[in-house]
């Protein structure tokens, strides 16, 4: 199975193809569409990530040393971004998730989205993932 670094590299290469914003966002939207929706009973308010303008639910559980993520969002671009993060971090060792770098998002041209104040809450989602991972690793 690919490591976090390897998965990030795959994503970076995928996005390298896109010169146009439309292609990039179409791809994000596709990723969002292909992410399994969270079942209704899991879309509880206490799974909502604070600081996003759209609703983003993040669920995490332990799988041995690894951490499993499930997520959903009501806005499709937010969901696409979450899908990307799940792609990278899902079923990886909790320790590594907690320590992982997220510079790849900058490389794939989502730098704009990385500020902690952004309405998309990308940084909040990453923080929340690492928070879970840290809890499970500890």
């Amino acid at each position: 199975m690919a490591t976090i670094k390897e998965r990030q590299q795959v994503l970076i290469e995928e996005f390298e193809f896109f010169d146009e914003w439309m292609d990039k966002y179409n791809h994000i939207i596709e990723m969002g569409k292909s992410l399994d929706a969270l079942p209704k009973e899991k879309k509880k308010d206490d799974l909502l990530v604070q600081g996003c303008q759209s609703k983003v639910w993040l669920h995490a559980e332990k799988n041995g040393d690894n951490v499993l993520f499930q997520a959903d969002a009501d806005a499709i671009i937010a969901k696409g971004i979450v899908a990307m993060l799940i792609d990278v971090f899902n079923d990886q060792p909790a320790k590594e998730v907690a320590a992982a770098d997220h510079g790849f998002l900058e490389e794939i041209g989502l730098k704009d989205h990385l500020s902690p104040t952004r309405a998309n809450g990308l940084m909040s989602i990453i923080k929340q993932m690492k928070f879970y991972a840290l809890a499970f690793a500890g």
Binding site: W21, Y25, I29, S54, D74, A75, I76
Partner: protein, 405 residues
Amino acid sequence: MSYDVQSIRQQFPILNQEIQGRPLVYLDNAATAQKPITVIDAISDYYLNYNANVHRGVHTLSQRATDAMEAVREEVRAHINAAETAEIIFTRGITDSINTIAFGMGAVVSNNQNVVITAIEHHSNIVPWQMLCQRTGAELRHLPMNEHGEVVLDDIEDIIDENTAMVAFNHISNALGTINPVEAILNRAQKVGAWTLVDGAQSGPHARVDVRAWNVDFFTLSSHKMYGPTGLGVLYGKRKKLEALPPYQGGGEMIATVTLDGSTYAGLPHKFEAGTPHIEGIIGFGAALKYINEIGIEAIAAHERELLKYATQECSEIEGFRVIGDAKNKASVLSFVVDGTHPYDLGVLLDQQGVAVRTGQHCTQPIMDAFCIDGTARASFAMYNTKKEIDIFKTALEKAVTMLR
């Protein structure tokens, strides 16, 4: 003279830029307006030439700053036709103005009374009254709205009654653009002797208001929505009403005498202006008012009505486009959803095409709850927007919708 939007645009250098490689189309004016060069210059001029703390200063700079600030107070008075400058208080914004009054009314409201707002208020005109009601035990009521986003007056005689202490509502809704039936609401309030406050956040840039024609007790404006600097608002209050309220903040300027055992308070407007004022903001706001009056608020409003009509027509051609708030009487705001899309996604994809709209609840969660939606995308217009920009907006919106479906 016809309305020359191109020469107006030249006064707003910020408009002349690219966002994501596309020309900026700024349609987030209900959140804050851009500033004409005269405002920016007035601020620089102040700091380059006569910055000083005001009042009680005998030196030349302080006197120049004081004169400039007080001249704006008079301009504001004239602009809204208040009786005297002492009734014009400078605050930090609408939010600060309303809190000032809601706090003060803690001293005059009792627990058998009620406060009435409408269903289409900004949080700034809801939460301060909730706090007042919590402190005093008074009841918070509201005039309901219909499916067009219009305030319904059918039960007004039951809702605003002999026990109503205050009726507070916005002139124009920032989330829907609805223009409220101000006179009808004020009439009922005045009939039962309730105090009245009109939130003019969205009237400032779009409508002429005459506080004495309305006979309203309190009226409030935000500079930043009127092409002026941030951090400044205006609170108009009738002298008698302002005098009946305790001061809000204690500090410099607002006192007559201070000993360590007690203080007496200064007269109006100083009683409500504790601390060093936002001098630069006041001076910049003076320049903004001057600019608005040069173009003419009626001409601006007419131009914006045109834009609103055009935008509504054009966008309605988009499949699934739904206007949120289609009141008969509307100003300058086009709030909408597009079926099968989330406002946040629309906002992101519009931004990628250079178009700035606001998305979300617009600080009016009760309205969103009433429409059973999470939020809207909102395009709002100002004196410098053009039909061509609306065309760009429409095309961009179409592209976004296509991508999202």
